[in-house]
């Protein structure tokens, strides 16, 4: 557990330097593009969240965008209420159009910033815990988990679209006020906002890293390999799986809140099939075994998309598909797998050398005229 931890910390440090220094430096620490970069970071964060459940515990959550979207809606509800303060009843405009009489009860608490921030994490966690209890206590695994999470996400998306009076329906929640964070009015085109997003991303990764590298993370890796066997050692497998699933959901919720801030609206497409599949692709390209690698995958693919979609326009989606197939075929562990293989190789050669040198020394000490041929 320990050597892996050190290497992870180095990777984390390099990633932090990349996000905090290199990326802003690429756009001279200012300007319109910082907003796009903040968006890439938010998407990288949800890819990292998926890597936590998929790569570590083997739970392929095809509905990762559900918790992401819920986070986004929660943030948007708060900002919408702030923007609607002067309207009759303090109600969002779309409620007025559809003759809602008073602000529904489930909108009320979102007046509070603290409630909103807490809910953005805890509601996704709660959803994941509930779903986790049903799925994992029932020993549902593999492709069935993927189907259930995907269907639940699509069901929620349909519900949001159909309940237009309360949710803004297909249009989502638009016309948001800027976030006022304890007296700081957040401008999403400023460097300070970029650093807020980067800080959240790094914090989320740190939480994930702590989990993955603790013994709980070890148990999760064991569960990924053979859940049956883990049970016979006395671990409550369902509870561990729920832990990974819920932590992942919490991180995705934060990513969703940031995403709504960046784009200044929330839309049912945030919990759609295409973004959910895209998240899987990002994590797979970067490497699902490492949250940092998956985050880089999310950032990298989206950056490339930003650059290339101008050039290639429609074909971009096709190219993304081709990239994914290529990764699955040639790099099943993603780019991280390439790095890890190289690392293992170097490490093996190093230990071999050390062992050989040690052996030789011992032999020489024992018999001055040592027969080198025996050294193993």
């Amino acid at each position: 557990m320990n050597t892996g931890f050190k290497i992870d910390c180095i990777g984390y440090g390099l990633f932090a330097a990349f996000v905090l220094l290199v990326m802003p430096w690429m756009v001279d620490f200012s300007g319109y593009e910082l907003n796009s970069y903040a968006r890439y970071l938010a998407l990288g964060m949800v890819a990292a969240a998926l890597a936590l459940s998929w790569g570590t515990a083997g739970i392929l959550n095809l509905g990762q965008a559900l918790t992401f979207g819920v986070g986004a809606y929660i943030m948007a509800m708060h900002l919408k209420l702030r923007a609607s303060e002067s309207l009759p009843g303090g109600m969002p405009d779309f409620m007025g159009w559809t003759n809602v009489e008073a602000l529904p009860w489930f909108w009320q608490p979102f007046h509070s910033l603290l409630f909103t921030l807490g809910a953005g994490v805890l509601i996704p966690v709660g959803i994941a815990c509930l779903l986790g209890v049903f799925m994992f206590r029932g020993r549902i695994t593999g492709v069935f988990v993927a189907i259930i999470t995907l269907s639940l996400m699509l069901a929620v998306q349909l519900w949001i679209i159909s309940e237009q009076r309360f949710t803004g329906g297909e249009n989502g929640i638009t016309g948001l006020a800027p976030l006022n964070l304890f007296g700081w009015s957040v401008d999403t085109y400023e460097l300070s906002f970029y650093y807020l997003v980067a800080g959240c991303l790094l914090a989320g990764l740190a939480v994930g890293l702590g989990l993955v590298r603790s013994k709980a993370g070890l148990v999760l890796r064991a569960i990924k390999a053979d859940p049956e066997r883990v049970r016979f050692f006395g671990y409550d497998v369902a509870r561990y799986e729920t832990l990974a699933f819920a932590t992942s959901a919490g991180i995705a919720g934060v990513a969703g809140m940031l995403y709504a801030l960046v784009l200044e609206f929330a839309s049912p497409t945030y919990m759609g099939l295409s973004i959910s599949l895209a998240i899987v692709i990002w994590a797979a390209v970067g490497g699902r075994e490492s949250m940092v690698a998956a985050a880089l995958g999310g950032i990298g693919v989206n950056m490339a998309e930003g650059r290339l979609s101008d050039l290639f326009f429609d074909q971009w989606t096709l190219m993304l598909g081709v990239i994914f197939i290529a990764v699955v075929l040639f790099l099943p562990r993603g780019i991280y797998g390439l790095v890890a293989t190289a690392r293992d190789y170097l490490e093996a050669r190093y230990t071999e050398r050390v062992a050989m040198a040690l052996n030789r020394e011992q032999d020489d000490a024992a018999r001055p005229v040592a027969d080198r041929g025996e050294v193993k």
């Binding site: 702590g210 070890l218 390999a225 049970r231 050692f233 006395g234 671990y235």
Partner: protein, 249 residues
């Protein structure tokens, strides 16, 4: 006192009665060998005890505690450990990581979230020494030899430190030398742990056994000292009928 009691334990798979009203009592600290021809229901009996399979009827007592209806992980916490017939270790994990998973005296999330190291000292070091894997700490389990994998799984059970250890053919695939090492290891464990060992290798059984139990077609056939059982005409008949001369090996 009996560490483990099976009381009219029965399981049916469709029409097949794999274990048929089996009664068994194993003393605290005893090493019991479980024999029987192929398909006699030995593995299934162990499955029933550790919770992999649910019995159709009957009871399982661990000490005085009825564990018949507990889920697997609670049985493990109550003190039942299992070694499977084919070595079942975590292939992607290193030897020491496997042992860390095995060390499960505190299996709760709140504890495991706070553990970040597996220092090679104390019991960990002792167990590594016992099974001769001291120099393979960082080796991935998939790169071990078959015999070493068997030993690793035994080592994981030693880390688990359970009261009752169920071993299904622990020497399968081992060399003669490894087998005799395993025999001496089991003799050492006797007394501290209660063990049920399923084996086909009669030389090995002679080396370790105090009392042997023979099953055939799911039911108890004979029980006693190894000489008494070997002399039992019913046992000879069962083996001759199924596998030829295995009992004489």
């Amino acid at each position: 006192m009996a560490a483990l009691t099976l009381d009219a334990l029965t399981v049916k798979f469709g029409g097949l009665v794999a274990v048929d009203h089996l009664d068994l009592q194993v003393r605290d600290g005893e090493l019991r060998c479980l024999l029987g021809p192929n398909g006699a229901g030995k593995s299934t009996t162990l499955d029933l005890i550790c919770g992999k399979t649910q019995p159709t009827s009957g009871r399982i007592l661990l000490g005085n505690q009825d564990i018949t209806n507990l889920p697997e992980f609670k049985r493990a916490r109550a003190g039942v450990g299992r070694k499977f017939q084919t070595p079942t270790v975590f292939k992607d994990l290193t030897v020491i990581e496997n042992l860390e998973v095995g060390r499960s005296s505190e299996p709760g999330i709140l504890t495991t979230l706070r553990v970040f190291r597996s220092p090679v000292r104390g019991r960990m070091k002792e167990v590594l020494g016992l099974v001769g894997l001291e120099n393979e700490i960082r080796t991935r389990a998939e790169n071990l030899s078959h015999g070493q994998m068997q030993w690793l799984e035994i080592a994981m059970l030693l880390m688990q430190d359970c009261r009752v250890i169920l071993m299904d053919e622990p020497t399968a695939g081992m060399t003669v030398q490894e087998t005799s090492q395993t025999a001496s290891l089991l003799r050492e464990l006797r007394g501290d742990h209660t063990m049920i060992v399923v084996e086909h290798d009669m030389t090995f059984v002679r080396e370790i056994a105090e009392t042997v139990t023979v099953m055939d077609q799911g039911a108890l056939l004979s029980e006693g000292s190894i000489e008494a059982v070997e002399a039992d005409p019913a046992v000879r008949e069962a083996y001759l009928a199924d596998t030829g001369d295995e009992a004489h090996a």
